[in-house]
């Protein structure tokens, strides 16, 4: 995203969509943590960037002073009237509304429910791998990682699998398109919600065993959900699981491609993979959330104004040496790992069990098929900027 002027001072003028931040944010966070530790920018109408685990967790837990009315930072704030549900409940909701909206959504994402999706996910990963077998070099981001969460969530929601390209378009627009002009951004949202409306209408006429029908039948406080709530939650489910999981799978393959000792160990010791996956989630956590400041206040010496953005860079918290030993090193057998890749507090990623299953299955299938893969072109790896960071181009030699 090169639409912004380049950043010259990360303390007073940061921009999370800057190419430098996308390519390698770690030294930026390290420097801010040592010297600042909460950066500010006038961009996006005013925003703050905490970088320590202590600040990121304190703000995540403080749902009184920091609202989730919007969780994607852009130049535009959604109107106050959309509270308490927000545009995509429950991620955009505050207490007390949040509690019921989240409670109803959790059972289909609990581990017992996710286990049932494991075999079909593995079959799909094997299918993607089968299509690459005769090649020397593949793009593990666009030919592998990207497809897995799209297929899984389309099935869960009961959407046509042929629409996968459209879903990826929605993701790019809503999550990565934060720098687009407001009208263009609004037009994209209309296309997304029109699409969801079509799917809802189809499910009203033909109810079936999927998440869309589940939401249409769900109740909150004894009442069915209103259609805005159903559509908003469907938008959340469609968008939140795709480029996040794609990023986690891609970043894990990236790490193992560039660190042969770790790769060899995971090939030889499959029982270590669950521990390694937690470490890869810590070290390459894809997701940064955002909050809005509710009222003018002083936070740890920072004069925060109502409607200032606050980014919650969980990936920076995960690299804080005050909280983790050897925070800057990837230690694939790290046993104590209280990482925050899926957030902290009441907004813990509702899809975390699904994401972990997809990541584990995708890595199992990949390691089993390509035990000696490596980076084909280290300079050709490109990372996404903004609030979801992961490899978007990842040339891997699989032979």
């Amino acid at each position: 995203m090169g639409e912004h002027p380049p950043v010259s001072d990360w303390t007073t003028d940061f921009d999370h969509t800057d190419d430098v931040y996308a390519a390698n944010p770690f030294p930026i966070w390290d420097e801010l943590r040592d010297t600042c530790p909460i950066a500010h920018t006038d961009r996006y109408g005013g925003a703050w960037l905490p970088t320590t685990h202590a600040d990121v967790s304190a703000i995540a837990y403080d749902t009184q002073r920091f609202t989730s009315r919007s969780i994607i930072m852009s130049p535009f704030r959604p109107p106050l009237e959309i509270a308490p549900a927000g545009i995509a409940p429950p991620i955009s909701s505050d207490p007390p509304f949040h509690r019921g909206a989240r409670r109803l959504l959790l059972p289909p994402f609990a581990p017992q429910a996710i286990d049932k999706l494991e075999q079909s996910t593995r079959d799909y990963c094997d299918e993607l791998i089968e299509a690459m077998q005769d090649r020397d070099v593949v793009d593990a981001a666009t030919e592998y990682a990207q497809h897995i969460p799209v297929r899984v969530i389309a099935r869960m929601l009961g959407f046509p699998e042929d629409d996968a390209d459209r879903f990826r378009g929605f993701v790019t627009h809503v999550i990565e398109g934060v720098s687009l002009p407001m009208e263009e951004r609004a037009d994209g949202m209309i296309v997304l919600f029109e699409y969801l409306k079509e799917q809802i209408e189809d499910h009203v006429e033909n109810p079936r065993d999927d998440l869309t029908s589940f939401l249409l039948q769900a109740e909150m406080d004894g009442e069915p959900l209103d259609m805005e709530h159903v559509g908003g939650t469907m938008a959340l489910l469609l968008l939140a699981g795709i480029d996040t999981t794609w990023s986690a799978i891609g970043a894990s393959i990236f790490h193992l491609a560039g660190n042969p000792a770790d790769r060899e160990r995971l090939v030889a010791e499959p029982e270590l993979r669950p521990t390694a996956i937690e470490e890869l989630l810590r070290a390459y956590a894809p997701v940064t959330m955002a909050r809005l400041v509710r009222e003018d206040m002083d936070y740890n010496g920072c004069p925060m104004k109502a409607d200032d953005w606050v980014l919650l860079p969980f990936p920076a918290a995960n690299r804080d040496p005050e909280f983790f030993d050897d925070a800057d090193k990837v230690i694939i057998d790290r046993e104590v790992n209280r990482h925050a890749a899926f957030g902290l507090g009441i907004h813990r990623c509702a899809g975390s069990h699904l994401a972990r299953m997809e990541l584990r299955v995708a890595l199992d299938a990949w390691l089993d098929a390509f035990p000696t893969f490596h980076l084909a072109d280290p300079a050709g790896v490109r990372w996404s900027g903004g609030q979801v960071r992961g490899p978007r181009t990842l040339p891997i030699a699989i032979g």
Binding site: R103, L106, P107, F109, A110, P111, Q112, P274, E278, E335, V336, N337, R338, H339, A340, F342, L344, G345, I346, R348, S352, H353
Partner: protein
């Protein structure tokens, strides 16, 4: 030794029942709970400490004396 999950702190990350399924189990929303009365047999003490040390919400308490 006895383990306990603080329901007010648990947010359903699921680290406890992934690391120590003998000692913790998920409910229908994925929150963790101690199995039975939470008493930990000696051969699982280390596992209980590992589960507690990996909870992102600091929701697990261990009573070493119980």
């Amino acid at each position: 030794m006895r383990v306990q999950v603080d329901d007010d702190r648990c947010e359903g990350h699921g680290r406890c029942y992934a690391l120590a399924p003998e000692l913790f189990e998920p409910d229908d929303i994925g929150n963790g709970h101690a199995v039975g009365d939470g008493i930990v047999p000696p051969d699982l003490h280390e596992r209980a400490r590992l589960a507690a040390a990996n909870c992102p919400e600091h929701a697990i308490t261990i009573d070493e004396e119980a």
